[in-house]
Structure formats: C-alpha cells, structure tokens
Amino acid sequence: MDWEPWLIGFLSKWTAGIAAESAGVNRVRYSPNIVLINVPCCGLISPIHVVDAFLQGADGVYIGGALPPANCHYKVGNFKAFKRFYLLKKLMKQFGIEPERIRLEWFVSPQYRKLAKTIDDFVDEIKKLGPITGGVEE
C-alpha cells in the first residue's frame, strides 16, 4: 500500500515546542509525516481547529502541552486542552470516527526524545487505522 498518513501537530511553544527544537539541534529523527505548528499555548486550540484539520485531510492530530500540574507557562492551559479534547474524543466516538486520531502528550521542555518517540508511535498507530476518508477515494 502506498498510502502515507498525513498528520498535524500543535505544540505549545513553551514546552513541546522547545522539545521539538532540541530534537532538531540534537539530530533526533522523527517521522516526516507530521507537520508541526507552534502555538502560544495548547489551551487556545479550539476543537474547531482540530475538526477542520480532519476535514482538510489530516489523518490524525497530535497535541503537545505542558506536563501537569505545574509546568504550564500560563498555569492552567493544559487543563483547558485536556477537558476540550477529552470531550471531543467522546463526541467523535459517537459520530463513528476513531478517537485515537487525536493524541494528547504532556511534556517538560527537555523531553525531546519522548517527543520523537511519541510521534513515531502515533504515525504507526494511524497507519493501522487507515486514512480519515475510510478508504473512500475522493
């Protein structure tokens, strides 16, 4: 099968974003299937952004935020993100879309190896799930 998944990652710039940068500096490789976007805080990502990414063809969305309880630069952004995406996953399940297509990971800024590893894991998982269109070609 020549299908390759295409993923979007939103990273909080204070933790996961720094981890991604260190991964580059330290020459740690991770899957090229993911496009990473730095955002000021994972608490500002709306469920609309994530569903819109799916509608535009992303097969999975990766969200990286600060490890609770005390690492978020804005103190509570990671809790906001958790509540939103916990509910969104529940909602997606009811619509018949696999909730595993959203992955939340929590970091402190030096954990660049964890970032690379979880991204690779996520890509493998999405490869097993198949394309977001469920095999129907557009």
Partner: protein, 300 residues
C-alpha cells in the same frame, strides 16, 4: 392578488399551521389566495400552478420527492421563506443524518429516501430565513411586516435573517453578575435544578445559551429549563457543539482543576454521557463532524 404556496417537506407539520393561525399573517393570507397546501387539501400540479409570489417552506429534505418539489417551487416563486429550524439547520428531523436509509425504511421504500437528511438551505437559496422550533409570535409579526414590503413586487436584495442573531446569554434574565468569573461546579442532571434565578451553567447544568442565537425571548430559561439550542448557532458560532465544548473547557471546575488533575476532570466529564444528542439536537446535519462522518460513507 398575491398568490401563496405552503410547502411541507418532511416535518412535524406544526410550524405552518401555527403560521396560518397568527392573526397578522392570516390577514395577509385573506387578502391573497393560497394556491398550494396539500396538508389542507389544496392540491395541484406544481407545473400548472404558474407563478407564485410567496412560498413558505417548512421541513427537511428527506425523500427524493421532497427535493423535486423544493426545486420546482424555487423556480416558480418570487420569494421563498424558509420557515422553522428544520428548513435551516435540520431540526429534530435532522437527527437521522448519520443513519443509513436502510436503518429507517424497509424494502422498496429505501429507494425513495435521500442518502442523508439535509436542510433546505443546502439545496436552494431562500430569500427570508425564519429560525425557531417553532418561531415565536414576535418573529411572526416581523415576518408579516417584511412580507408587506415586498407584496406588490420585487424581492429582497440579500437574504433576510429574521432574528437578531446575537448570543442568547447577552440579555439573559439569569445572567451572572460577573460573567468573567463564572464557573461551572461540575456536571449535574437537569432534574436537579433549583429555580433560584441563578445562571444554569453556574449551577452545573449544561445550557446551550453561550452558542445559541437569541430570538425566542428566553422562553425556556424563564420557565426554568436550560436552553436546548433550537434557534441555531449565534452569529460568529461555527458549530454549536464544538464551540460549546470550547466553553465547557474554559469554565468547568476552573478553580479546582489543579487539585483534581486529569483523572478527576475525566471523571467529571464522564457524567456527560451523550454529548452528540445534547449539543446537536437541532443542528446535526450542519455539524462539521457529520460532514466528516458522511464523507467516510461516500456521501457528500
């Protein structure tokens, strides 16, 4: 003489009867003539009716015949009024949007159904949109006023949306004194409501007010029932359910989240058992996730 047509697609049939009974609209209808209303025995072949001035459409497009009739009447009428939430957002009929036709009908009837249910606005461009389930008396009066303007000829230059469209909470009688400090103390069952005039969300009851348009004069809220979202999304709201999830994420247990941590928050969120049914009761066919789910089935 003004010629009116009443077109009921798949609907409960209540909206247009109520519209007919409204005194101001009824006066307009008495001066004119109703040329088509099958539900009340005024039938005819749409091809032979000729030009119609105003067509009121209620309901969703569920069957293939609905779509044929809808397109015919858009061609022959000067002004089309999409009346009721069903015709604009899908309404309660829209709850079948994710079911396959086979799950709804048997045998040969399956062929009569469209692959999914969609509101009228997905197929044609109405001139006047009147949301509500059903629209209130004030909105009907506004509709009568608008129709009088165009009765002798001409049509609106752009779509007229007959409700203000601002967020329901803006003028809510239960609005908290300091909305920025509002906090949801957990998720509770609506039957635990105490009528003490406090904001429902501050009591832990999910109320769709933050994402719903105003146009109902807070009818449910004044009678101690949280908003169910029947007026459709407010101006600026992309998707009722997803925006509501955003609001809940901001205010649920916001002073205790550092103590509860993720497991505690998850336990609280699990009390909301049916988010789809609650958030999309009236707008399921317009939901972004419905679009995604239907695309996977090969239905566009």
């Amino acid at each position: 003489m003004t010629r009116y047509a009443f077109l009921e697609l798949t609907s409960c049939g209540d909206c247009l009867s109520e519209l007919y009974m409204n005194p101001e609209i009824n006066k307009l209808l008495e001066e004119g003539e109703i040329v088509y209303w099958p539900a009340y025995g005024i039938v005819g072949d749409p091809e032979e009716i000729g030009e119609v001035d105003v067509t009121f459409i209620a309901g969703t497009v569920r069957t293939r015949r609905d779509l044929e009739e809808l397109e015919k009447f858009r061609r022959i009428s000067r002004i089309v009024v999409a009346y009721g939430t069903c015709s604009i957002y899908g309404g309660l009929n829209g709850l079948t949007a994710l079911l396959e036709p086979r799950a709804i009908a048997d045998g040969e009837y399956v062929k009569l159904l469209m692959p999914t249910v969609k509101p009228v606005t997905d197929y044609i461009e109405p001139d006047i949109l009147v949301p509500g389930c059903p629209p209130t008396r004030e909105v009907m009066a506004r509709l009568a006023k608008t129709l009088k303007k165009y009765i002798s000829g001409g049509k609106p230059e752009k779509k007229i949306f007959l409700i203000p469209g601002e967020v329901l909470c803006k003028h809510c009688p239960r609005r908290p004194s300091n909305p920025e400090k509002a906090e949801m103390p957990g998720i509770r069952d609506p039957n635990e409501v105490v009528d003490d005039g406090r904001c429902f969300i501050e009591q832990g009851i999910l109320c769709l007010g933050p994402v719903t348009a105003n146009g109902c004069n807070h009818l449910c809220i004044r009678f101690n029932h949280p908003c169910m979202g029947c007026m459709g999304p407010a101006r600026g709201v992309v998707d009722q359910g997803l925006n509501m999830i955003g609001s809940i994420g901001s205010i649920l247990l916001k002073s205790r989240e550092v103590k509860l941590l993720f497991p505690g928050l998850a336990k609280e969120l699990d009390k909301l058992r049916d988010p789809m049914g609650y958030f999309y009761r009236y707008t399921l066919p317009k939901a972004m996730l419905t679009k995604l789910a239907l695309r996977r089935r090969g239905v566009e």
